[in-house]
């Protein structure tokens, strides 16, 4: 891995901050009753999505989950159109048909967030198969949570990608909980990356609070996949700072536990790296933060005032 340019590192930081600000804004509009549906915040996990997606090209594809605001932004999606989507507006990425759990942004390589846990994984495998048949060297990246590793899809897909040597990076974001379930109560191993050996593929476990570490691991996995050497299982270890969804009561864990994890804030941590290695001054980073916060104010404004889908279009998009 060549050393990263200042511009690149600042873009990483910017996207992490953008995710954070988007999630704060989304939780806020939800709390204020401005949107319906649910919001599953990615706060605390920003380094995972950004580390992975910054290692991808625009023509590489990601497949998301119910918790994919962060993945979409990391891959380059426009927060305003995302905000419009969670407001259910025609200007949203999915013309208001998808909502928070289903944001797809085909123009930036996000082929959809699927809210049935695990269901995006084989779809990404199929996209990788398609790339290979088309003679492209693009890769496909399904994201899943620790909970999602218990699904049959996870296993079937790892096996399939392994035997066909497909360009897939399976990213498991172990944020320690699946709704109320601590991962060790549902996952039969401490380190999920050890499962890779059972498929004859590399398994990597990386600190999911450290964007550079995630990036390095993803970069290597992507290079391997592009070379035609097959899939990698990449596990990022982080923590879900917010409730499962905005407003979720969190009866299953203590405030102390959450607060301890909050100290690991991946954005603060990366800011320290960037300032200590001279990439940026605290003021420059603050500017990024302010710009992204302002951007979200504008995004909410845009989304609020955008029109709803016309009821007369209710029968559109059922069949292509």
């Amino acid at each position: 891995m060549e050393s990263l340019t200042t511009e690149f590192k600042l873009e990483m930081y910017r996207r992490m901050v953008r995710i954070r600000e988007f999630e704060l804004a989304a939780m806020d509009v939800f709390k204020r009753g401005l949107i319906k549906g649910t919001v599953h915040p990615y706060i605390g996990q920003e380094a995972s999505g950004v580390g992975v997606c910054m290692a991808l090209r625009p023509d590489d594809l990601i497949a998301g989950t119910h918790r994919s605001h962060g993945h979409n932004i990391a891959k380059g999606a426009d927060p305003a159109r995302m905000m419009a989507e969670i407001f259910g507006k025609e200007a949203g990425y999915c013309r208001g048909r998808g909502g928070s759990m289903h944001i797809a942004a085909f123009d930036t390589g996000s082929l959809g967030a699927l809210a049935v846990v695990g269901s995006g994984i084989p779809i990404a495998v199929g996209a990788a198969l398609g790339f290979r048949m088309q003679g492209k060297d693009s890769v496909a990246v399904p994201f899943t949570g620790d909970g999602g590793t218990s699904t049959g899809n996870f296993h079937e897909s790892l096996n399939m990608a392994a035997i066909w040597k497909l360009p897939v990076i399976f990213v498991v974001e172990n944020n320690k909980y699946a709704v109320s379930t601590y991962y060790r109560d549902a996952v039969s191993t401490d380190d999920l990356s050890v499962r890779a050996a059972g498929y004859g593929i590399p398994g990597v476990n990386v600190d999911g609070f450290d964007v550079l570490a995630v990036y390095a691991a993803a970069h290597e996995a992507v290079a391997r996949a592009r070379r035609g050497d097959g899939p990698t299982l990449l596990v990022t270890e982080s923590y879900r700072i917010e409730g499962h969804y905005a407003g979720e009561p969190e009866v299953y864990r203590s405030r102390e536990e959450v607060n301890a994890q909050r100290q690991k804030d991946p954005i603060v941590r990366f800011a320290e790296v960037l300032t200590s290695d001279g990439t940026a001054t605290p003021e420059e980073l603050q500017e990024i933060q302010s710009a992204e916060a302002a951007r979200m104010v504008a995004a909410v404004e845009f989304a609020r005032s955008a029109p709803m889908p016309d009821p007369a279009t209710a029968m559109d998009y059922i069949y292509a």
């Binding site: 909502g99 049935v116 699904t151 016309d310």
Partner: protein, 358 residues
Amino acid sequence: MTTPTRDAVSLGAKSPVMSSDLIVQVPAGTPATEKTMAEAIREALAEEMERDPRVFLLGEDIGKHGGAFGVTRTLFDRFGPERVRNTPISENSIVGAATGAALVGMRPVAEIMFVDFSGLAMDQIANQAAKLHLMTGGQARVPWVLRMPQGGGAGKSTAAQHSQSLEVWYAHIPGLKVLLPSTPYDAKGLLKAAIRDDNPVIFLEHKLLYSFKGLVPEEEYVLPIGKCDVKREGSDVTVVASGYMVWHAMAVAQLLEPEGVSVEVVDVRTVSPLDEETIGASTRKTGRLLVVAEASRSYGPTGEWAMVAMEQAFDYLKAPIQRLAGRFSPVPFADSLENGMWPTTADVVGAIHNLMQY
């Protein structure tokens, strides 16, 4: 169903304030308490667990968290982690495990968080559990209950993968029983019956109804599986419906009474095996039939109900059978599109007027 007036006569149909007086199932004088459907279900579970040590619960986040809709809340503290068992996200194996436990004499009550996710478990439900009794010549018995919330329009816009009504997938499969209660009273009595039944029973709970209230007797009771329930007698029109749609029917029946239209409401609270006699008898009595379901229109439950009425009461029909059903579309997120997905009270009024004026 897409007429702009559809909400004009809405009685707050999509909100929990819809009056529970619309359906009174406990005779005056019987000691009873008002409960929500969620409470009634929880009570049924707790009573059966107390009564029978073989009964236990399994599902995702049903422990401390109490499940996605809080239905099992408090049961974890009361019965402990063995009998209120949190599972991994493995829908097919949750059902498979319930089947295995049932085969060795347990009586599991499994939960799938949303009926939509049962797509992952169809093999265990329809190919294994439903068929084992016959396939083994009677050796196997699979006395489980599979609880699944379903339905849309919780005013929450949960979109395409969290809003379906899928009773037909199950009702079409012989060997399964399929229940879909509309009231707290029915939910409790039917769930207790389901737990005591020796067959795999699909127990569908409409999300909107969890907070609906109704009187539930203090005394233990169990309701019969396999029968429709005439929720209201009438002489001019029969409305056959189930789940949430029963409330629309009841609200409209009350609304039309002053107009002099007498509506009989038949609640298909056992979706399968279907009680063809009650549907036939009511249709013969009124000669006018409206079938209403929330499930999507094509190949949904309404066709079956209408066919049965036709088989049983053709010569009595004074007008073509009318139907109302879910729009044949994946459920969109946006409010402006989710409105119009499912039959409303206004739609029911319109259809009944059509029947009367035919």
